[in-house]
Point group: C3
Chain length 313, copies 3
């Protein structure tokens, strides 16, 4: 069960996803204690290697590691030897020689975590690579839905926004699909992926259609830079066409929940009201993020390691 690394949801089998979610569900209880610490990973070293800054995700991994009693080291690439033109792989191999038990990698280029994982002895967790995958986000999303709906199988999940450029969308399409949910997407035509058919999802251009019968409505963050470019006329038009509020939400099922990976552009993807109140579960997602990452660190870096005798050959 589970390979050395966690690079994407595409690589996982359904039983692996189930095991991660079950483990994470058990971890959620730890966050409710006064003493939010278990000795599971005492003496293990987790390195956050973030080439692209993301304080939210990095903090979530850091808190997750510390609650498992791991030592967490943030390797900031600003001011690192990368400014001395060292290659990414050399940086990663240097860190690897310090014997970490897990390296969490974020990079703006798709595929970098995989290239790093290929040369590292330490397990690698992908914390987001370009428009490729963001597996821990999709897993925490699945955990959140499971808590609300008691199942994933048979649900209808509508993902709305810039699907083409979203690693969150891609990982969730794989994940919910593997777990037996029906995934639909909607967004401006320029923001729908070219390979939509091969992803096995149905694409819609209207909010009303995509929401019809949806159990879960997931709004994606819009990059304003992109909106102001060629993809779409204006922020205002995006909000009018694909932004969610309570009125539009009536197209979905009565008990539909609303999700967003954050941070929300209030008044664009979600109305202020929906950003702050049920049925949105945005802060549950954040809270579950810590528990889910505890599960990943436990499953990935908690295993006994067999080390090569020597780092170079």
């Amino acid at each position: 069960m589970l390979g050395k690394d966690l690079l994407g949801i595409e690589d996982l089998e359904r039983p692996e996803i189930e095991r991660i979610l079950e483990t994470a569900q058990r971890m959620t209880e730890i966050g409710t204690r006064d003493v939010k610490k278990v000795p599971t990973l005492r003496g293990r070293t987790v390195v956050n290697l973030f080439f692209e800054p993301s304080t939210r995700t990095q903090t979530s991994f850091e808190i997750a590691g510390k609650r498992l009693a791991a030592d967490v080291v943030n390797f900031s690439t600003a001011g690192s030897s990368l400014s001395k033109k060292e290659s990414i792989l050399d940086t990663a191999k240097t860190l690897d020689a310090m014997d970490p038990d897990c390296v969490v990698v974020r990079h703006k280029v798709a595929g970098v975590p995989k290239r790093i994982a290929d040369v590292l002895e330490a397990p690698v967790i992908n914390a987001g690579d370009g428009a490729h995958e963001h597996p821990s986000q999709a897993l925490l999303d699945m955990l959140t839905v499971f808590q609300q709906k008691d199942r994933l199988d048979g649900l209808t999940v509508a993902i709305i926004g810039d699907i083409a450029h979203s690693r969150v969308a891609r990982s969730n399409i794989y994940g919910f699909g593997k777990m037996g949910a029906e995934v639909r997407i909607a967004g401006p035509p320029t923001m729908l992926p070219a390979d939509v058919e091969t992803l096995g999802v149905k694409a819609y251009c209207s909010l009303r259609e995509v929401l019809d019968g949806a159990d879960v409505v997931m709004a994606l963050r819009i990059q304003r830079e992109r909106l102001e470019g060629a993809c779409f006329p204006s922020v205002r038009e995006y909000a009018a066409t694909f932004g969610l509020d309570r009125a539009k939400l009536r197209y979905a099922k009565d008990d539909a929940i609303v999700m967003h990976p954050g941070p929300v552009n209030r008044g664009v993807e979600l109305s202020h009201d929906l950003a702050d109140h049920r049925p949105s579960v945005i802060l549950d997602q954040v809270r579950n993020g810590v528990a889910l990452r505890m599960a990943l660190l436990y499953l990935i870096s908690g295993r006994p390691r067999t080390r090569a005798e020597s780092p170079q050959e």
Copy 2:
């Protein structure tokens, strides 16, 4: 005793200040041990949320948390989603959903810690907000004076410098006043606060007068940017009129002590000699800062918490 948050000295009653100082005094002993660690806050998470950089204060809180065995997470806002235009409150609520036991907030705008505290489940400690308050600084100053004088009641405290723009001055005026000391202020007229009467202090324009009979002389840091603006002719003139040296200190009581929140502009607020030697107690203030912040973290974040079932409603 003590509310959920610590936002300012203005909100505290004298018995609360006394309790904090007594707790801090007991904490000072821990810093003298070889093993400077007690398990008091094991498994508690303290987040340093500094929107305005301040390595000194942040390091003091970080060391304080670690000596109590808490997990301390520095949430740097450079490179965070704030650069993605996320609102301060959304950032704070996101952190809150990770279940910290305390969030230490610094912001250059007065009132931000209060606004954050109003929406957070976790307790908030104000680590300095604009020209409003810097309560942990005033409390460590009171602790330092108490160690030197064995009392606060009845002492005469002279605060010198840019009172109008100083959160340190404001917090100390409230604090020493509540503890029964007489607080006087002095500085260039443009640097005295408009509401000086309502603060209950007496303002002086001459160093000689303000020092007369003072037990404690507190020099504030001058922001050179401000000096070179409209407020005052020149740094040299400021130093001549309000800068302290041993000669001028003779106007105060024989056993007067000299304080400064640091960093000192040597040769401006204090002579080199006074910056480095008794009767100045500047490094005692720094040392007491760690003990005082241990006390705050213990009193504020060490309480059992009752959590809402769910973060959104």
Copy 3:
């Protein structure tokens, strides 16, 4: 054995170096465990005070401290009161008043760690100062050679590159010399130090000569900025004349090893092939760096401290 601080190899006696290396060799075993943590420095505070960014060295010290259960605090000088023009010594004294058990200092100006050590109660470890010394690097280099050759006495060590501007070269010349090895240097004439005679090493201008009979070949990192200046015609010419590949390595002993402090300019100091494969031991150096720094922190900051009653007098 061993003074309060570790500022340079020049100050050490051979028995002191031997003791550090023996201690470090024992520490290497800890990095191979699943639980890579010993309680040796529990409750001790180690401060990384890096005025010059160096993520590699800082991370190595941070991991070393954490594996000994110390609390490690990274004091970043970006955004610190140094930007408020506070002097380096005032910053260091402020930190000292927070009662750290060790301050690790890097600065681009030679002699700064010594000046700091002179005024600090806490022990100081020099993590690199200008072109002066980088003692922990030389010690980890000696440890790596000892692991490969079972001795240092009588070996021939060739150091190649910009010797004049290299603190790594300087510390290794002292270190290997004190341990009974013969040290030779080679590089472009503009990159050889003026005081080469007083250092007790023999200088060569040809790679063939310096390698003849060498047991250890240490290539130094070339600063491209410097190369493009007056010191040397071009990167290409440097690589042709002093860059190492397998063909040129045949001038050395059959069992010679290749070292580099990293990060490598691939194709300049070392061929890609040599950068990645035996006989180079570059990643062993990195791995030994953690063990060596654990030894230093243990020997330097693990001692019982006697504190002055008060920080100012």
